[in-house]
């Protein structure tokens, strides 16, 4: 179920009313059922994968916290995903013949996990903790790797061998990418690592942990929450406050505006420019990448706002994921404003463990490069994302070590003119990054860059399309100007005088409705 469907706008109020009407002890089960239902609307079978991640990280987290579950319980929980597939097999008539095999594989994996877990538990001490961490990370990454990267690596290996003159015909599997797998896997992994590091307590209640892993507002596209932020909120008994409704609805309205009005309309131009059939000229190439910059920003930050608003209606605060990213003055600033939950995840669980910037200059360069390559690969099984990650890694290195870019890294306030210049330069770098990100392959990326040299008039005039783009970008920038001082993209509206807010809400609502039938799926679902 997507946030911009009518189904969601029936689902959310229903859950909201039920949640606050039910006695507190029934709220968590309601959230879990609602979350699983929300996810099952895409594909009910893939709930088995969510369950697998949940079971593995719940058991490992608990064991890391020093609490031993009875082996019988470990086995029962480990067999849950296989059991779910069995239920699906019995109830769904449209399943293929391979299903019994899948059930057997899920059951086998459950038994294997049980056996390894029991073996590791017997080790004791720090060795056990490391073993449990490796078990959890290994299983989760194996699932993610199989569903997201199997064909990519096989295909890449085949190509590499081909270039070396060796013929290889590996089998490519027809694998469907489960929605949101990167998001919930990383969220779950972050929890286990935190428990291992003793920075977060283990969650003892399976229901709470399962809800944490599958919480519907943020499950499929983030923000990638931390256990220490979300689990205590799920455990606590909330008391309804009117401000939940105010803040929640405001966030949802702003999110809809960003997604439906800004992103989907910018997508009209971006889709045309990055269509292989289009003969590009420089104005179109520039228009296309600007359009995509606002499409992806509106799309993803709009999703986050709707997610935060939906959670807020249930009295739960999700972390901020975007903070005026296109006003960043350097790459480091950009990553502290763009997809904050992912960039901090990579900072805390990859960059710092690798040594961060504590070692030599070369160590820092290596750590930045590795982190950004992995962040790129996280976005998708395609070399273009790896290149995009490498590009951002190179930018971070450039700004950190190469003058005069190092001057833009200084945190102290400089002249306003210089700040704007730095922001403009960073925006240009960001645009070049989006050109990489949006290209389907290296050939298309090459064509995009080549088009920048062709300034002659093309077959299709671009001027009106530029107006179309401005028509959708300027309202967003005006909204951002209103909230800039508060430092919060959507929450900042609360501080405006009520007549201004009333007019603004009306305008946002009308703008959303005016574009309401051109809906598109959220870009980040594919990641």
């Amino acid at each position: 179920m997507s946030f911009i469907t009518w189904q969601y706008f029936l689902f959310l109020p229903l859950i909201f009313v039920l949640y606050w009407q039910l006695p507190p002890r029934l709220r968590l089960p309601l959230l879990l059922i609602a979350s699983y239902f929300f996810y099952a609307c895409w594909d009910v079978r893939f709930l088995a994968l969510v369950l697998t991640t949940t079971v593995i990280d719940y058991i490992c987290g608990l064991s890391l916290g020093g609490r031993r579950l009875k082996p019988a319980w470990v086995l029962i929980l480990a067999l849950l995903p296989g059991a779910w597939l069995g239920v699906c097999y019995l109830l769904l008539t449209s399943w293929g013949q391979a299903t019994p095999l899948l059930i057997a594989v899920a059951g086998g994996l459950g038994v294997a996990f049980f056996a390894i877990h029991e073996g590791v538990w017997a080790w004791g001490g720090e060795k056990r903790n490391k073993g449990l961490l490796i078990l959890s990370v290994g299983f989760c990454l194996a699932i993610l790797g199989f569903f997201k990267y199997f064909n990519f690596f096989v295909d890449s290996a085949q190509n590499l061998l081909g270039h070396m003159g060796l013929q290889a015909n590996f089998v490519l599997l027809h694998i469907i990418l489960p929605v949101g797998i990167s998001f919930y896997t990383f969220q779950s992994l972050g929890y286990v690592i935190d428990v291992y590091r003793r920075t977060s307590p283990a969650c003892a209640d399976f229901l709470t942990f399962a809800t944490f892993d599958a919480f519907f507002p943020q499950m499929v596209s983030g923000p990638i929450e931390r256990g220490k932020n979300l689990i205590p909120q799920l455990e606590g008994v909330g008391i309804f406050q009117n401000s939940y409704v105010h803040d929640g609805l405001r966030l949802i309205l702003v999110g809809l505006f960003k997604k439906v009005f800004v992103a989907d309309n910018c997508a009209v131009i971006a889709g045309y420019v990055f269509d292989p059939r289009t003969a590009l000229t420089a104005p179109w190439a520039i228009l296309g990448v600007v359009a995509f910059a606002f499409q992806i920003y509106g799309d993803f930050s709009g999703y986050t706002d709707i997610a935060r608003g939906s959670a807020k209606l249930l009295g739960i605060n999700l972390m901020e994921n975007f903070r005026f990213p296109y006003f960043a003055r350097n790459p480091s600033d950009f990553w502290s404003r763009w997809h904050i939950s992912l960039s901090t995840w990579f900072r805390d669980y990859v960059y710092i463990p690798l040594g961060g910037n504590r070692g030599s200059q070369w160590d820092t360069i290596r750590n930045l490069a590795v982190t950004m390559l992995l962040a790129g690969l996280w976005h998708g099984a395609n070399w273009i994302f790896v290149i995009w990650g490498a590009y951002h890694g190179a930018l971070l290195i450039l700004y950190r070590f190469v003058p005069p870019f190092t001057g833009f890294m200084a945190k102290e306030k400089k002249g306003r003119g210089l700040q704007w210049m730095a922001a403009a330069l960073m925006f240009l770098f960001t645009l070049a990054g989006w050109a990489i990100f949006r290209s389907a392959n290296l050939a298309q990326l090459g064509q995009w860059f080549a088009a920048l040299g062709h300034w002659q008039a093309g077959a299709v005039p671009w001027q009106k399309s530029a107006l179309w783009l401005l028509f959708h970008i300027v309202p967003l920038l005006l909204l951002q100007a209103l909230t800039w001082k508060q430092g919060d993209e959507a929450g900042g509206l609360e501080r405006l005088p009520w007549p201004v807010r009333g007019l603004l809400y009306t305008a946002l609502l009308l703008l959303v409705v005016s574009s309401s039938e051109q809906d598109q799926e959220f870009i980040y679902f594919q990641f």
Binding site: Q7, H246, I269, K464, S465, P499, G502, V513, S515
Partner: protein
Amino acid sequence: MKSLIKPAFVLTVALIVLLEGGARLFFPQGVSGRFDYGYDPDAGFAENADGTVKLFRAGGRRFFPQSFSKERPPGTFRVFVIGDSIPRGPSLQASYAWLLGDELRKNWIPAEAFNLAVPGFGVRRCQIVLDRIIRYDPSLIILHVNYSNEYEDEREWRRTQEFKGWHPRHWLMKLFILRRLYEMKQEQVFWRLVPTEIRQRRAVNDADAEVAASMDAQKMREWSRQVERVTRESADLARRRHIPILLLTHCSVETNPSHGPQLNDFDMDGLGESLAGAGVYHLSMKEVFAGTPNFQSHFTDGSHMKQSGHLILAQAIFHKLQKERLLAGFTPGNLGKTAESK
């Protein structure tokens, strides 16, 4: 504790209610049938207290703005042309309806001719217009019969039904002001600012559906039978009211590499001939243009005509009216009231 309802929210709701109420109160004409996409029988017609009827763009009927008296002036030959974008023409003055009026008056016949053609209208929606204009005492109805708009008719019928239904998908759009805003954005901003090339590529689903339907032999047979049935009903409708009706069957220009440009009537001439009889006349566009040298030069594309093509057709209709003695009761005399264009 803060109150649940905040002033900003109240203001938002009040503004929407005011806009909606204002639109319904002050622009009832615009609201009526607005989202029936041509299926509302009254949309686009306004009967004024002074006895005139005004044609305007509403309810999916993009009529050229015209007006005429509700009662036909005595002794005046009144013609209404119904059809799709082809009879509509490049402009009102360049359409064969207007040019026919000129032709008649040039020959001293008091006449008024009105163009009620709307782009994309298939036989079903044309029939609804025909049913409406019968009450204005026409001397002749010209029905331009074309086979190529059945997809549009079906799609717009579906939209009408959808919007009339109570599916949650359309709840917001039940508000006139919101739906109007949505359509305004489409028509005034999207269509004007986004080049056709981009729009065509984006309209994947709709275009795909149309192409798929046009390649589906079963569907085409179904539509062909429908064109035949509805055209027959339309002819009967006029005949029952003793109003002469001229079925002008359309033809397209097809370029054949070996034989050059050819005219193709897609068997509609056969349909026209089969329906011709008492009060129902048939004119084949193919026959008209077959006798015209370099006929393809009068077309802008395979189907639509330039003004010169419309003029040829207007003259052919005039000759047909003479031949069928349909002008017999209208004595050459004073210049009749001309079609008023605003």
